[in-house]
Amino acid sequence: MDDLKFNCSRRHFLSAASLGIGSTALAALLDPGLLQAATGSAAPANANAPLLAAPHLVPRVKRVIYLFQSGGPSQLELFDYKPRLRAMNGSELPESIRKGQRLTGMTAFQKSFPMAGSQFEFSRHGRSGTYISDLLPHTAKIADKLCIVRSMHTEAINHDPAVTFVQTGSQQAGRPSIGAWLSYGLGSENHNLPGFIVLLSRAREGDQPLYSWLWGSGFLPSQHQGVQFRSGKDPVLYLNDPDGLDRANRRRMLDTLRALEVEQHAKVIDPEIDARIAQYEMAYRMQTAVPEAMDLSAEPDSVFALYGEEARKPGTYAANCLLARRLAERNVRFIQLYHQGWDQHGNLPKDIQIMTKSVDQASAALVVDLERRGLLEDTLVIWGGEFGRTNYSQGKLEKDNYGRDHHPRCFSIWMAGGGVKRGFTYGETDDLGYNVVRDPVHVHDFQATLLYLLGIDHERLLFKHQGRRYRLTDVQGQVVKDLLA
């Protein structure tokens, strides 16, 4: 049994010889090289210490709220105003525009590709004169706070690979998601809450599913994966004490467990024991922190007037936006919302109204609410999906009905908050809304820019796994400096 004492790898030795959470950060401050040496080779010595003691660059934002619109919202009905497409409604999509672009199995065998203009009006808003669809009246009101990118493009053409690509930088599942990379690189700012929290909602049934790998940690240590907060009684499953066990009892149990583990640790120098103690303690702190953060009862009526009455209903997008603000106030680093229902292959004119109605007011309210609390200064809000939708109709183009297929060549997103320009529109698509003609922004460029805003050089946040170093942006990505304020 005593042999176990010497069963001590280099990493074990380093972790035993090094320091607590605070002093690790301290040591890194004194000698950043200490942690730099660990970059990309292995997990840091202490399981809970972030990889970087400080960001590579002076950060412009400290936290991100990503309002992910799952399914692929149609840019042509929302942000990318194309009067020429409307004028040519019903004409055949010219091959000179399509240029052999691959199509999904859903429209590849279509004999005709009738172009479909938006059936919804656009107006100019704010001092910036930004074109925004009349479907988004609340978003239009904050036009001067938005940084709209109309030239996003991606590589994937189907939902699962496309969402996975945006969230992890790879079309195949298994890589860490953006939030996990941030948790790994920068750690959590709130000792009582995870640094990466996920909230889900949907406005229409039967849309594309989501998978937990989208907020997974991939090959990163597993404490960095996103923690999904559910609506209802138990926001985090298995967090609450079982019936009949009170908090004092739980404390005694944890203390005893800790004593046992300290004893065990003296015999077997295993960092996993430290990690487990830390996780137990985090869960214990979360038992009070999570209900407090998720409790909307103290929010005044004026807040529900701002976000919409729907925010009173747990599990809605509006309620999640309000929760996102509460979590941002508590310094949670990465708050990821997913809102399902944007996959409109048919019945688009009707279904898109259901979707815009469910997101418009709350999305705008979140930006307004963050701003008046001073939080927009160092928070970035992102609104966008995984790809765009085609400029031609999937199926028959009718007078008041059409559908749109998946379109990776262009889509629109908006951002608001610290570090990005306000009242600014970037990039341009052609008159028919099919190809990007100016300032394209690839998904990896977007990811590189996102990390840059948080003070991370995307080429230096690495993790070595199975013999090679990985990063969020794989081998690509350029920071889009023109978006920076």
Partner: protein
């Protein structure tokens, strides 16, 4: 002068090498004669012809040099001294030849006179040669690449390399001046301004040359300097002249950008708009340029004392560097900890603290003088605290503060006055306070750049403009 004289003058750089070699040879021959005496009789015998040839070469070279100097384009103290010493060398060389001749006839005391003359001549020759080379290659050419110890020995200034944040880099000093020095100052220096133009000093650049000003601030395309630099390399007027390395496109772009943005000798990168075509070049030389990013003071600070960091941590203040390798800190107080002790623990770190959040804490009036001592604060978050007008006044006008969050505090219109005195304050959040729109209007008059966020909901959409 023109014609034959000017033509012959241009042989000066060629001819000048003959007297140099011959005079040094004369010195060597005499050295051997002195050391070996009668054992090397050829040495004393050959001195007279060598010295006579040297005198002839020196006169020819000096004459050519005089003609070259007279063709115009040269001026300044270096040139005048070079001309004087060049003629002196020629005269000394003649004298040396005469004395050598005399010694062969008479011997004796002439030997010492000859040797003294040789030493003086070679000394003056060296100086004149160096000055000539300075005219051709520019001031500091010799020591430019010398190792540190040698540089300090000859008193040459250390190369002036800018190491601060790229945004704060003075454009003229770090980008324009080194380029002009490297590319232009060999001919156009204050010491020897060819064509009357000196490009190594701000005064010289502003004054221009014999034909008038060379820069028109804000109008690069109307500037003679840009016209000359942009001409095709073979053109008669192109600068640098034919055969010399033209300006790199990135350098030319920087030069144009500098003039277009006002040709200021003090402006920094952050002061002017960065044209897209110069950005890659700027970043290649200065490193990534953060545009509009958080302000970081361009002061140097000693490293942070870790025991003081630990002391702040112990008081519930989460302190960390704002970025890797930066001496500046961000600090956030744990809301469950007393504000007074927390802020007090930052006192030893005062110059380092850039961002401070006391949001939701127990901060009260007595704490504010201590916050006011954090002179480099650019962001201060006091939201959801009991901050009062008196507290704000006790801050005493933080000179660097840019953003202050006072939402959910007891601040009233009276407290705004204290904010108005902060010279760099750009944004104040005052939602859910007693501050009134009228108070905001009043402070706008004294602090026009200060944006006050009262948190009103956006106006009902005015009749949107239809496309």
């Amino acid at each position: 002068m023109s014609g034959v004289g000017a033509f012959l003058g241009r042989f000066h750089p060629l001819l000048v090498h003959f007297p140099i070699a011959l005079l040094v040879l004369a010195g060597l021959v005499e050295l051997i004669a002195a050391r070996r005496g009668d054992r090397s009789p050829w040495a004393s015998a050959s001195l007279v012809p060598v010295a006579m040839l040297a005198a002839l070469a020196a006169v020819v070279a000096a004459s050519a040099g005089y003609l070259l100097g007279a063709t115009g384009g040269y001026g300044g103290s270096t040139f005048v001294l070079h001309r004087l010493l060049g003629i002196t060398v020629a005269l000394l060389a003649i004298l040396t030849a005469l004395v050598a001749w005399q010694r062969r006839q008479a011997g004796g005391a002439w030997t010492w006179m000859l040797r003294a003359l040789l030493i003086v001549t070679i000394g003056v020759l060296t100086t004149a040669g160096h000055l000539g080379a300075t005219l051709t290659h520019g001031e500091g050419y010799l020591t430019e690449l010398a190792p540190g110890p040698i540089r300090s020995l000859v008193g040459a200034a250390a190369p002036d390399r800018y190491t601060g944040p790229p945004e704060r880099a003075p454009i003229y000093r770090t980008l324009v001046q080194p380029m002009l020095q490297r590319q232009c100052a060999s001919c156009h220096a204050a010491a020897a301004p060819m064509g009357g133009l000196a490009l190594d000093t701000p005064e010289g650049i502003q004054k221009g040359g014999d034909h008038g000003p060379v820069i028109v601030p804000e109008h690069a395309l109307a500037s003679e300097l840009i016209r000359r630099v942009w001409l095709p390399p073979g053109h008669q007027d192109a600068m640098p002249p034919r055969g010399q390395r033209p300006l790199a496109p990135a350098d030319a772009a920087v030069l144009r950008w500098w003039i277009d943005t006002g040709a200021s000798f003090a402006a920094t990168v952050a002061d002017v708009e960065i044209a897209p075509d110069v950005l890659p070049g700027l970043e290649a030389r200065l490193g990534p340029i953060a545009r509009g990013g958080p302000t970081v003071p361009s002061i140097t600070l000693p490293a942070v004392d870790p025991t003081q960091l630990a002391a702040a941590h112990a008081k519930g203040v989460d302190v960390s560097a704002i970025a890797d390798g930066s001496p500046f800190l961000q600090a956030r107080l744990d809301v469950s900890q007393p504000a007074e002790a927390g802020v007090a623990s930052l006192a030893p770190l005062a110059p380092h603290v850039l961002w401070l959040s006391l949001a939701g804490s127990t901060v009260s009036d007595p704490v504010f003088p201590a916050i006011g001592k954090l002179r480099n604060l650019t962001r201060l978050d006091l939201s959801r605290t009991a901050t009062t007008d008196a507290g704000l006044q006790a801050l005493g006008g933080l000179p660097q503060l840019e953003t202050v969050n006072l939402y959910g505090t007891k601040v009233t219109d009276a407290g705004l006055a204290a904010l108005g005195t902060m010279p760099r304050l750009r944004r104040a959040y005052l939602w859910q306070t007693a501050v009134t729109p009228a108070g905001v209007e009043k402070i706008k008059a004294t602090a026009p750049k200060l944006e006050i966020v009262l948190g009103d909901e956006p106006d009902a959409p005015a009749a949107p403009a239809r496309p």
